[in-house]
Protein backbone atom coordinates (compact mmCIF):
# COMPACT_ATOMS: atom_id res chain seq x y z
CA UNK A 1 0.00 0.00 0.00
CA UNK A 2 2.83 2.34 -0.84
CA UNK A 3 0.52 4.06 -3.26
CA UNK A 4 -1.91 4.87 -0.52
CA UNK A 5 0.87 6.28 1.62
CA UNK A 6 2.03 8.51 -1.21
CA UNK A 7 -1.46 9.82 -1.85
CA UNK A 8 -2.08 10.61 1.77
CA UNK A 9 1.32 12.33 2.06
CA UNK A 10 0.43 14.51 -0.91
CA UNK A 11 -2.85 15.46 0.69
CA UNK A 12 -0.93 16.21 3.87
CA UNK A 13 1.38 18.51 1.95
CA UNK A 14 -1.62 20.41 0.70
CA UNK A 15 -2.76 21.05 4.23
CA UNK A 16 0.69 21.65 5.65
CA UNK A 17 0.68 25.44 5.19
CA UNK A 18 -2.59 25.79 7.03
CA UNK A 19 -1.40 23.71 9.93
CA UNK A 20 1.82 25.67 10.19
CA UNK A 21 0.17 29.04 10.25
CA UNK A 22 -2.34 28.01 12.85
CA UNK A 23 0.36 26.34 14.90
CA UNK A 24 2.70 29.33 14.73
CA UNK A 25 -0.05 31.66 15.87
CA UNK A 26 -0.48 29.68 19.06
CA UNK A 27 3.11 29.99 20.19
CA UNK A 28 3.78 31.13 23.73
CA UNK A 29 7.27 32.28 22.86
CA UNK A 30 8.38 35.68 21.61
CA UNK A 31 9.35 34.70 18.10
CA UNK A 32 7.85 33.08 15.09
CA UNK A 33 8.57 29.39 14.98
CA UNK A 34 7.02 26.14 13.98
CA UNK A 35 6.55 23.88 15.84
CA UNK A 36 5.35 26.44 18.34
CA UNK A 37 7.22 27.15 21.54
CA UNK A 38 4.48 26.28 23.99
CA UNK A 39 0.84 27.15 23.49
CA UNK A 40 -0.85 30.44 24.17
CA UNK A 41 -3.38 32.83 22.78
CA UNK A 42 -1.34 35.92 23.60
CA UNK A 43 -0.66 36.74 19.99
CA UNK A 44 -4.36 36.89 19.26
CA UNK A 45 -4.73 39.59 21.87
CA UNK A 46 -1.69 41.22 20.34
CA UNK A 47 -3.42 41.11 17.00
CA UNK A 48 -6.57 42.75 18.30
CA UNK A 49 -4.43 45.38 20.01
CA UNK A 50 -2.46 46.15 16.89
CA UNK A 51 -4.03 49.19 15.34
CA UNK A 52 -2.64 48.73 11.87
CA UNK A 53 -3.66 45.08 11.64
CA UNK A 54 -7.14 45.74 12.98
CA UNK A 55 -7.64 48.61 10.62
CA UNK A 56 -6.58 46.34 7.81
CA UNK A 57 -9.13 43.74 8.90
CA UNK A 58 -11.98 46.23 8.93
CA UNK A 59 -11.03 47.62 5.56
CA UNK A 60 -10.85 44.11 4.12
CA UNK A 61 -14.28 43.22 5.41
CA UNK A 62 -15.83 46.47 4.28
CA UNK A 63 -14.36 46.29 0.81
CA UNK A 64 -15.30 42.63 0.45
CA UNK A 65 -18.89 43.38 1.38
CA UNK A 66 -19.12 46.34 -0.95
CA UNK A 67 -17.49 44.37 -3.74
CA UNK A 68 -19.96 41.53 -3.33
CA UNK A 69 -22.91 43.88 -3.51
CA UNK A 70 -21.51 45.59 -6.58
CA UNK A 71 -20.78 42.35 -8.41
CA UNK A 72 -24.36 41.26 -7.86
CA UNK A 73 -25.71 44.56 -9.11
CA UNK A 74 -23.50 44.58 -12.18
CA UNK A 75 -22.74 40.92 -12.84
CA UNK A 76 -26.20 39.41 -12.67
CA UNK A 77 -27.66 41.76 -15.30
CA UNK A 78 -24.58 41.19 -17.43
CA UNK A 79 -25.15 37.43 -17.31
CA UNK A 80 -28.82 37.87 -18.14
CA UNK A 81 -27.82 40.09 -21.02
CA UNK A 82 -25.56 37.38 -22.43
CA UNK A 83 -28.20 34.75 -21.88
CA UNK A 84 -30.69 36.67 -24.00
CA UNK A 85 -28.52 35.82 -26.99
CA UNK A 86 -27.65 39.28 -28.30
CA UNK A 87 -25.71 39.77 -31.53
CA UNK A 88 -21.96 39.14 -31.13
CA UNK A 89 -22.73 37.20 -28.02
CA UNK A 90 -19.44 35.33 -28.12
CA UNK A 91 -17.32 38.41 -28.49
CA UNK A 92 -19.10 40.29 -25.76
CA UNK A 93 -18.93 37.22 -23.56
CA UNK A 94 -15.15 36.99 -23.98
CA UNK A 95 -14.79 40.68 -23.26
CA UNK A 96 -16.86 40.39 -20.11
CA UNK A 97 -14.72 37.52 -18.87
CA UNK A 98 -11.42 38.97 -20.01
CA UNK A 99 -10.23 40.24 -16.58
CA UNK A 100 -9.78 36.57 -15.71
CA UNK A 101 -7.25 36.17 -18.48
CA UNK A 102 -5.09 39.20 -17.80
CA UNK A 103 -2.40 38.73 -15.14
CA UNK A 104 -3.14 40.62 -11.96
CA UNK A 105 0.23 42.27 -12.07
CA UNK A 106 -0.70 44.02 -15.31
CA UNK A 107 -4.22 44.89 -14.19
CA UNK A 108 -2.79 46.22 -10.96
CA UNK A 109 -0.27 48.36 -12.73
CA UNK A 110 -2.86 49.71 -15.16
CA UNK A 111 -5.18 50.65 -12.32
CA UNK A 112 -2.39 52.26 -10.38
CA UNK A 113 -1.71 54.55 -13.31
CA UNK A 114 -5.36 55.41 -13.75
CA UNK A 115 -6.11 55.90 -10.09
CA UNK A 116 -3.05 58.04 -9.54
CA UNK A 117 -4.32 60.34 -12.19
CA UNK A 118 -7.83 60.33 -10.77
CA UNK A 119 -6.59 60.68 -7.22
CA UNK A 120 -8.27 57.41 -6.31
CA UNK A 121 -5.38 55.57 -4.73
CA UNK A 122 -7.41 54.81 -1.64
CA UNK A 123 -10.18 52.56 -0.41
CA UNK A 124 -12.48 53.59 -3.23
CA UNK A 125 -9.88 52.64 -5.77
CA UNK A 126 -9.40 49.33 -4.04
CA UNK A 127 -13.14 48.76 -4.15
CA UNK A 128 -13.31 49.48 -7.88
CA UNK A 129 -10.31 47.28 -8.56
CA UNK A 130 -11.77 44.38 -6.63
CA UNK A 131 -15.06 44.69 -8.45
CA UNK A 132 -13.38 44.61 -11.85
CA UNK A 133 -11.41 41.44 -11.14
CA UNK A 134 -14.19 39.54 -9.37
CA UNK A 135 -17.28 40.41 -11.38
CA UNK A 136 -16.36 37.92 -14.16
CA UNK A 137 -16.62 35.11 -11.60
CA UNK A 138 -20.11 36.23 -10.77
CA UNK A 139 -21.04 36.43 -14.44
CA UNK A 140 -19.69 32.97 -15.11
CA UNK A 141 -21.51 31.46 -12.13
CA UNK A 142 -24.83 33.00 -13.03
CA UNK A 143 -24.41 31.93 -16.66
CA UNK A 144 -23.85 28.33 -15.73
CA UNK A 145 -26.77 28.50 -13.30
CA UNK A 146 -28.95 29.78 -16.10
CA UNK A 147 -27.71 27.08 -18.42
CA UNK A 148 -28.86 24.45 -15.97
CA UNK A 149 -32.41 25.73 -15.71
CA UNK A 150 -35.10 24.22 -17.84
CA UNK A 151 -35.74 26.59 -20.77
CA UNK A 152 -39.35 25.50 -20.77
CA UNK A 153 -40.02 27.20 -17.43
CA UNK A 154 -39.93 30.84 -18.56
CA UNK A 155 -41.96 29.84 -21.59
CA UNK A 156 -44.54 28.19 -19.40
CA UNK A 157 -44.77 31.34 -17.32
CA UNK A 158 -45.26 33.42 -20.45
CA UNK A 159 -48.07 31.20 -21.72
CA UNK A 160 -49.85 31.77 -18.45
CA UNK A 161 -49.57 35.52 -18.82
CA UNK A 162 -46.33 36.66 -17.16
CA UNK A 163 -44.41 39.49 -18.80
CA UNK A 164 -40.59 39.65 -18.84
CA UNK A 165 -40.28 41.42 -15.52
CA UNK A 166 -42.63 39.02 -13.77
CA UNK A 167 -40.88 36.05 -15.31
CA UNK A 168 -37.63 37.34 -13.89
CA UNK A 169 -39.06 37.92 -10.44
CA UNK A 170 -41.07 34.74 -10.03
CA UNK A 171 -39.24 32.20 -12.16
CA UNK A 172 -35.67 33.18 -13.03
CA UNK A 173 -34.60 34.77 -9.77
CA UNK A 174 -35.64 31.92 -7.45
CA UNK A 175 -33.91 29.45 -9.76
CA UNK A 176 -30.77 31.54 -9.65
CA UNK A 177 -30.62 31.63 -5.89
CA UNK A 178 -28.10 28.79 -5.35
CA UNK A 179 -25.77 30.12 -8.04
CA UNK A 180 -26.15 33.61 -6.70
CA UNK A 181 -25.23 32.58 -3.19
CA UNK A 182 -22.22 30.57 -4.23
CA UNK A 183 -21.14 33.46 -6.45
CA UNK A 184 -21.43 35.86 -3.54
CA UNK A 185 -19.45 33.66 -1.19
CA UNK A 186 -16.75 33.23 -3.77
CA UNK A 187 -16.49 36.92 -4.61
CA UNK A 188 -16.44 37.85 -0.94
CA UNK A 189 -13.62 35.46 -0.18
CA UNK A 190 -11.72 36.41 -3.32
CA UNK A 191 -11.84 40.04 -2.34
CA UNK A 192 -10.97 39.35 1.28
CA UNK A 193 -7.89 37.35 0.38
CA UNK A 194 -6.77 39.38 -2.59
CA UNK A 195 -3.22 40.64 -2.43
CA UNK A 196 -1.75 40.71 -5.96
CA UNK A 197 -4.02 43.48 -7.11
CA UNK A 198 -4.31 45.27 -3.79
CA UNK A 199 -0.61 45.93 -3.32
CA UNK A 200 -0.76 48.23 -6.31
CA UNK A 201 -3.67 50.31 -5.17
CA UNK A 202 -3.23 50.23 -1.43
CA UNK A 203 -1.88 53.22 0.42
CA UNK A 204 -0.66 53.55 4.01
CA UNK A 205 -4.02 54.69 5.31
CA UNK A 206 -6.09 52.21 3.43
CA UNK A 207 -4.47 48.80 3.23
CA UNK A 208 -6.48 45.63 3.47
CA UNK A 209 -5.23 42.99 5.86
CA UNK A 210 -3.34 40.85 3.32
CA UNK A 211 -1.40 43.92 2.20
CA UNK A 212 -0.54 44.82 5.78
CA UNK A 213 0.76 41.32 6.33
CA UNK A 214 2.67 41.58 3.07
CA UNK A 215 4.46 44.73 4.11
CA UNK A 216 5.14 43.41 7.59
CA UNK A 217 6.74 40.22 6.39
CA UNK A 218 9.88 42.00 5.37
CA UNK A 219 10.44 43.72 8.66
CA UNK A 220 8.73 42.95 11.92
CA UNK A 221 7.68 39.33 11.57
CA UNK A 222 5.90 38.73 14.80
CA UNK A 223 3.46 35.97 15.59
CA UNK A 224 0.62 38.47 15.65
CA UNK A 225 0.79 38.30 11.89
CA UNK A 226 0.32 34.56 12.17
CA UNK A 227 -2.71 35.24 14.32
CA UNK A 228 -4.11 37.57 11.69
CA UNK A 229 -3.40 35.07 8.94
CA UNK A 230 -5.07 32.33 10.95
CA UNK A 231 -8.15 34.43 11.45
CA UNK A 232 -8.27 34.99 7.70
CA UNK A 233 -7.98 31.26 7.07
CA UNK A 234 -10.58 30.35 9.65
CA UNK A 235 -13.03 32.90 8.38
CA UNK A 236 -12.55 31.73 4.81
CA UNK A 237 -12.78 28.07 5.71
CA UNK A 238 -15.79 28.78 7.86
CA UNK A 239 -17.61 30.38 4.96
CA UNK A 240 -16.67 27.55 2.65
CA UNK A 241 -17.84 24.87 5.06
CA UNK A 242 -21.01 26.72 5.93
CA UNK A 243 -22.08 27.10 2.35
CA UNK A 244 -20.43 24.10 0.76
CA UNK A 245 -23.19 21.63 1.39
CA UNK A 246 -25.88 23.41 -0.49
CA UNK A 247 -24.04 25.86 -2.68
CA UNK A 248 -21.05 24.28 -4.30
CA UNK A 249 -18.18 26.67 -4.70
CA UNK A 250 -16.74 24.68 -7.55
CA UNK A 251 -19.14 26.50 -9.84
CA UNK A 252 -17.49 29.92 -9.76
CA UNK A 253 -14.09 28.31 -9.99
CA UNK A 254 -14.72 26.30 -13.06
CA UNK A 255 -17.65 28.06 -14.70
CA UNK A 256 -19.78 25.04 -14.07
CA UNK A 257 -17.65 22.66 -16.04
CA UNK A 258 -17.45 20.30 -13.11
Amino acid sequence: MIVRGVIYSLYALLTLPVICVIGASLTAGDFLSFPPDGLSLRWYSAFFADRELMRGAWISLAIAAATTAATVAIGVPAALFLESDPPWRRLIGSLFLSPLNIPLVLTGFAMLVLFTRLNLVNATGLFIGHVVVTVPYMVRTILSSLALTDPALPRAAAIFGAGPFRIFRHVTLPLLKPGLISGCVFVFLASLNNVALSVFIASPGSSPLPVVIFSRMDSVASPSIAAGATLLILFTAGCVFAFERRYSLLGPLTGGRI
Binding site: P77, A78, P103, L106, L189, N193, N194, V199, F214, V240
Partner: protein
Protein backbone atom coordinates in the same frame (compact mmCIF):
# COMPACT_ATOMS: atom_id res chain seq x y z
CA UNK B 1 -36.05 34.51 -22.89
CA UNK B 2 -38.52 34.99 -25.70
CA UNK B 3 -36.96 37.26 -28.25
CA UNK B 4 -38.84 39.50 -30.54
CA UNK B 5 -36.89 42.14 -32.26
CA UNK B 6 -38.92 45.24 -31.50
CA UNK B 7 -36.67 48.26 -31.00
CA UNK B 8 -37.87 49.06 -27.50
CA UNK B 9 -37.30 45.53 -26.36
CA UNK B 10 -33.83 45.47 -27.84
CA UNK B 11 -32.84 48.71 -26.16
CA UNK B 12 -34.28 47.59 -22.85
CA UNK B 13 -32.38 44.37 -23.05
CA UNK B 14 -29.16 46.09 -24.02
CA UNK B 15 -29.49 48.38 -21.02
CA UNK B 16 -28.95 45.62 -18.52
CA UNK B 17 -25.60 44.81 -20.04
CA UNK B 18 -24.56 48.43 -19.95
CA UNK B 19 -23.23 48.78 -16.38
CA UNK B 20 -20.80 45.92 -16.97
CA UNK B 21 -19.72 47.36 -20.29
CA UNK B 22 -19.11 50.76 -18.75
CA UNK B 23 -17.29 49.35 -15.75
CA UNK B 24 -14.90 47.35 -17.87
CA UNK B 25 -14.42 50.00 -20.51
CA UNK B 26 -13.50 52.73 -18.05
CA UNK B 27 -11.65 50.78 -15.41
CA UNK B 28 -10.20 47.90 -17.35
CA UNK B 29 -9.84 48.28 -21.09
CA UNK B 30 -8.97 51.95 -20.99
CA UNK B 31 -6.18 51.67 -18.39
CA UNK B 32 -4.76 48.61 -20.10
CA UNK B 33 -4.70 50.40 -23.42
CA UNK B 34 -3.11 53.32 -21.65
CA UNK B 35 -0.15 51.31 -20.45
CA UNK B 36 0.07 49.57 -23.80
CA UNK B 37 0.59 52.99 -25.36
CA UNK B 38 2.97 53.90 -22.57
CA UNK B 39 5.19 51.04 -23.60
CA UNK B 40 5.86 52.79 -26.86
CA UNK B 41 6.14 56.32 -25.57
CA UNK B 42 9.35 57.98 -24.54
CA UNK B 43 9.78 58.99 -20.90
CA UNK B 44 8.50 62.50 -21.35
CA UNK B 45 6.20 63.65 -24.08
CA UNK B 46 4.63 61.93 -27.01
CA UNK B 47 6.01 60.09 -29.91
CA UNK B 48 6.73 56.52 -30.73
CA UNK B 49 9.79 54.70 -29.65
CA UNK B 50 10.99 51.17 -29.28
CA UNK B 51 13.68 51.97 -26.76
CA UNK B 52 11.48 51.03 -23.84
CA UNK B 53 11.20 47.59 -25.26
CA UNK B 54 14.76 47.23 -26.47
CA UNK B 55 15.97 47.95 -22.96
CA UNK B 56 14.87 44.49 -22.02
CA UNK B 57 16.49 42.53 -24.78
CA UNK B 58 19.98 42.39 -23.35
CA UNK B 59 21.48 39.24 -21.92
CA UNK B 60 20.57 40.08 -18.38
CA UNK B 61 16.87 40.35 -19.10
CA UNK B 62 16.91 37.40 -21.44
CA UNK B 63 18.23 35.48 -18.49
CA UNK B 64 15.36 36.72 -16.38
CA UNK B 65 12.86 35.67 -19.04
CA UNK B 66 14.48 32.28 -19.17
CA UNK B 67 14.39 31.88 -15.41
CA UNK B 68 10.72 32.79 -15.36
CA UNK B 69 9.94 30.22 -18.02
CA UNK B 70 12.00 27.53 -16.31
CA UNK B 71 10.32 28.11 -12.96
CA UNK B 72 6.88 28.10 -14.56
CA UNK B 73 7.60 24.98 -16.58
CA UNK B 74 8.95 23.15 -13.57
CA UNK B 75 5.95 24.12 -11.50
CA UNK B 76 3.59 23.00 -14.26
CA UNK B 77 5.24 19.65 -14.89
CA UNK B 78 5.50 18.82 -11.22
CA UNK B 79 1.88 19.84 -10.75
CA UNK B 80 0.93 17.28 -13.36
CA UNK B 81 2.99 14.55 -11.73
CA UNK B 82 1.79 15.30 -8.21
CA UNK B 83 -1.71 16.32 -9.16
CA UNK B 84 -2.68 13.35 -11.29
CA UNK B 85 -2.59 10.82 -8.44
CA UNK B 86 -4.77 13.08 -6.34
CA UNK B 87 -7.25 13.61 -9.17
CA UNK B 88 -7.26 9.83 -9.68
CA UNK B 89 -7.94 9.24 -6.02
CA UNK B 90 -10.78 11.74 -6.03
CA UNK B 91 -12.21 10.12 -9.16
CA UNK B 92 -12.30 6.74 -7.46
CA UNK B 93 -13.81 7.94 -4.19
CA UNK B 94 -16.14 5.28 -2.96
CA UNK B 95 -18.85 7.45 -1.45
CA UNK B 96 -20.25 10.93 -1.86
CA UNK B 97 -19.09 11.82 1.64
CA UNK B 98 -15.54 10.75 1.00
CA UNK B 99 -15.50 12.57 -2.27
CA UNK B 100 -16.72 15.78 -0.66
CA UNK B 101 -14.13 15.45 2.08
CA UNK B 102 -11.16 14.91 -0.21
CA UNK B 103 -12.43 17.59 -2.57
CA UNK B 104 -12.34 20.06 0.29
CA UNK B 105 -8.80 19.02 1.13
CA UNK B 106 -7.90 19.59 -2.50
CA UNK B 107 -9.38 23.06 -2.36
CA UNK B 108 -7.54 24.04 0.81
CA UNK B 109 -4.69 25.85 -0.94
CA UNK B 110 -7.22 28.01 -2.76
CA UNK B 111 -8.59 29.21 0.52
CA UNK B 112 -5.30 30.80 1.41
CA UNK B 113 -4.27 34.25 0.35
CA UNK B 114 -0.92 34.19 -1.43
CA UNK B 115 0.67 36.07 1.44
CA UNK B 116 -0.65 33.57 3.91
CA UNK B 117 0.70 30.56 2.07
CA UNK B 118 4.03 32.29 1.48
CA UNK B 119 4.12 33.10 5.16
CA UNK B 120 3.43 29.45 5.96
CA UNK B 121 6.16 28.14 3.70
CA UNK B 122 8.67 30.58 5.15
CA UNK B 123 7.91 28.98 8.47
CA UNK B 124 8.28 25.50 7.04
CA UNK B 125 11.40 26.03 5.00
CA UNK B 126 13.10 28.62 7.15
CA UNK B 127 16.10 27.89 9.37
CA UNK B 128 13.86 27.50 12.40
CA UNK B 129 11.22 25.63 10.52
CA UNK B 130 10.30 22.04 9.96
CA UNK B 131 12.54 20.93 7.18
CA UNK B 132 15.95 22.38 7.96
CA UNK B 133 16.38 20.96 11.47
CA UNK B 134 15.42 17.54 10.14
CA UNK B 135 17.96 17.80 7.34
CA UNK B 136 20.57 19.00 9.81
CA UNK B 137 20.11 15.96 12.00
CA UNK B 138 20.78 13.85 8.92
CA UNK B 139 24.17 15.48 8.80
CA UNK B 140 23.66 17.70 5.75
CA UNK B 141 24.67 21.26 6.37
CA UNK B 142 22.22 23.81 5.00
CA UNK B 143 23.52 27.03 6.35
CA UNK B 144 21.73 29.21 3.90
CA UNK B 145 18.40 27.62 4.47
CA UNK B 146 16.10 26.46 1.72
CA UNK B 147 14.51 29.80 1.13
CA UNK B 148 15.65 32.44 -1.28
CA UNK B 149 16.05 29.93 -4.02
CA UNK B 150 14.31 29.00 -7.24
CA UNK B 151 13.51 25.62 -5.76
CA UNK B 152 11.60 27.19 -2.92
CA UNK B 153 9.66 29.38 -5.31
CA UNK B 154 8.73 26.35 -7.40
CA UNK B 155 7.60 24.46 -4.32
CA UNK B 156 5.39 27.27 -3.07
CA UNK B 157 4.01 27.92 -6.54
CA UNK B 158 3.02 24.29 -6.90
CA UNK B 159 1.44 24.30 -3.48
CA UNK B 160 -0.65 27.34 -4.35
CA UNK B 161 -1.83 26.42 -7.83
CA UNK B 162 -1.97 22.65 -7.93
CA UNK B 163 -5.67 22.68 -7.03
CA UNK B 164 -6.49 23.98 -10.51
CA UNK B 165 -4.57 21.13 -12.07
CA UNK B 166 -6.27 18.56 -9.87
CA UNK B 167 -9.72 19.88 -10.64
CA UNK B 168 -9.13 19.91 -14.38
CA UNK B 169 -7.75 16.39 -14.48
CA UNK B 170 -10.54 15.18 -12.22
CA UNK B 171 -13.12 16.68 -14.53
CA UNK B 172 -11.57 14.94 -17.55
CA UNK B 173 -11.49 11.61 -15.72
CA UNK B 174 -15.13 11.96 -14.75
CA UNK B 175 -16.04 12.47 -18.38
CA UNK B 176 -14.66 9.13 -19.49
CA UNK B 177 -17.49 6.69 -20.19
CA UNK B 178 -16.88 3.73 -17.83
CA UNK B 179 -18.00 1.20 -20.41
CA UNK B 180 -15.05 2.27 -22.56
CA UNK B 181 -12.69 1.02 -19.90
CA UNK B 182 -14.70 -2.18 -19.63
CA UNK B 183 -14.58 -2.61 -23.40
CA UNK B 184 -10.81 -2.39 -23.25
CA UNK B 185 -10.56 -4.89 -20.44
CA UNK B 186 -12.88 -7.47 -21.93
CA UNK B 187 -11.00 -7.41 -25.20
CA UNK B 188 -7.71 -8.20 -23.53
CA UNK B 189 -6.24 -5.11 -21.88
CA UNK B 190 -4.78 -5.63 -18.43
CA UNK B 191 -5.51 -2.85 -15.91
CA UNK B 192 -2.10 -1.30 -16.55
CA UNK B 193 -2.52 -1.39 -20.32
CA UNK B 194 -6.02 0.03 -20.01
CA UNK B 195 -4.61 2.93 -18.00
CA UNK B 196 -1.85 3.85 -20.42
CA UNK B 197 -3.76 3.25 -23.63
CA UNK B 198 -7.21 4.43 -22.71
CA UNK B 199 -7.43 6.47 -19.52
CA UNK B 200 -4.30 8.54 -19.87
CA UNK B 201 -4.98 9.62 -23.47
CA UNK B 202 -8.58 10.44 -22.62
CA UNK B 203 -7.55 12.56 -19.64
CA UNK B 204 -5.09 14.57 -21.71
CA UNK B 205 -7.54 17.45 -22.32
CA UNK B 206 -7.72 17.96 -18.57
CA UNK B 207 -3.95 17.89 -18.23
CA UNK B 208 -3.60 20.41 -21.03
CA UNK B 209 -6.16 22.86 -19.67
CA UNK B 210 -4.74 22.54 -16.17
CA UNK B 211 -1.26 23.19 -17.51
CA UNK B 212 -2.38 26.30 -19.34
CA UNK B 213 -3.78 27.72 -16.12
CA UNK B 214 -0.85 26.85 -13.88
CA UNK B 215 1.72 27.98 -16.40
CA UNK B 216 0.05 31.32 -17.07
CA UNK B 217 -0.41 32.06 -13.38
CA UNK B 218 3.13 31.11 -12.65
CA UNK B 219 4.58 33.26 -15.43
CA UNK B 220 3.04 36.42 -14.10
CA UNK B 221 3.40 35.69 -10.40
CA UNK B 222 5.29 38.14 -8.25
CA UNK B 223 3.96 37.83 -4.71
CA UNK B 224 5.43 34.38 -4.17
CA UNK B 225 8.80 35.14 -5.78
CA UNK B 226 9.01 38.36 -3.78
CA UNK B 227 8.30 36.82 -0.40
CA UNK B 228 9.97 33.48 -0.90
CA UNK B 229 12.77 34.47 -3.20
CA UNK B 230 14.05 37.22 -0.95
CA UNK B 231 15.39 39.33 -3.76
CA UNK B 232 17.56 36.54 -5.12
CA UNK B 233 15.00 35.03 -7.44
CA UNK B 234 14.33 37.26 -10.38
CA UNK B 235 11.19 36.81 -12.43
CA UNK B 236 9.50 39.20 -14.78
CA UNK B 237 6.39 39.77 -12.70
CA UNK B 238 8.59 40.91 -9.87
CA UNK B 239 10.39 43.35 -12.10
CA UNK B 240 7.12 44.83 -13.25
CA UNK B 241 6.08 45.28 -9.64
CA UNK B 242 9.38 46.89 -8.71
CA UNK B 243 9.39 49.19 -11.70
CA UNK B 244 5.88 50.40 -11.13
CA UNK B 245 5.39 50.60 -7.39
CA UNK B 246 8.87 51.20 -6.14
CA UNK B 247 10.86 52.86 -8.90
CA UNK B 248 8.01 54.71 -10.60
CA UNK B 249 9.55 53.83 -13.94
CA UNK B 250 6.23 53.43 -15.64
CA UNK B 251 7.48 53.28 -19.20
CA UNK B 252 9.82 50.52 -18.24
CA UNK B 253 7.11 48.71 -16.35
CA UNK B 254 4.73 49.05 -19.27
CA UNK B 255 7.25 47.74 -21.76
CA UNK B 256 8.19 44.82 -19.56
CA UNK B 257 4.54 44.12 -18.86
CA UNK B 258 3.79 44.04 -22.56
CA UNK B 259 6.64 41.61 -23.16
CA UNK B 260 5.41 39.44 -20.29
CA UNK B 261 1.92 39.43 -21.69
CA UNK B 262 3.07 38.51 -25.19
CA UNK B 263 5.30 35.78 -23.84
CA UNK B 264 2.51 34.32 -21.75
CA UNK B 265 0.10 34.35 -24.67
CA UNK B 266 2.69 32.69 -26.90
CA UNK B 267 3.29 29.98 -24.30
CA UNK B 268 -0.41 29.37 -23.70
CA UNK B 269 -0.98 29.16 -27.42
CA UNK B 270 1.88 26.68 -27.70
CA UNK B 271 0.34 24.55 -24.97
CA UNK B 272 -2.98 24.64 -26.80
CA UNK B 273 -1.34 23.57 -30.05
CA UNK B 274 0.45 20.70 -28.34
CA UNK B 275 -2.83 19.81 -26.71
CA UNK B 276 -4.59 19.71 -30.05
CA UNK B 277 -1.88 17.54 -31.52
CA UNK B 278 -2.22 15.09 -28.67
CA UNK B 279 -5.97 14.88 -29.00
CA UNK B 280 -6.78 14.56 -32.70
CA UNK B 281 -10.14 13.05 -31.92
CA UNK B 282 -11.28 16.03 -29.93
CA UNK B 283 -13.13 18.90 -31.48
CA UNK B 284 -11.83 22.10 -29.92
CA UNK B 285 -14.32 24.02 -27.89
CA UNK B 286 -16.23 21.01 -26.60
Amino acid sequence: MISRRSPIRTIRRALIGLPMAILLSVFFFYPLTDILVMAFQPENGDGFTLTNLSRFTDNYYLGVFLDTIVISAAATILSIILGFPLAWHLHHATSAHKRAFWALVTLTPLMLSLVVSSFAWILILGSNGLVVPVIRTLGIDVTSGLLNSKTAVVIVTISSFISYMILNIYSALQNIDPSIVRAARIHGASPTTAFFRIILPLSTPGIVSGSAIVFAMSMSAFVIPFLIGGGRVKVIGLFVYNFTVQLYDWSGGAALGLLLFLLTIAATWAIAVVGDRLTPWHRRGT
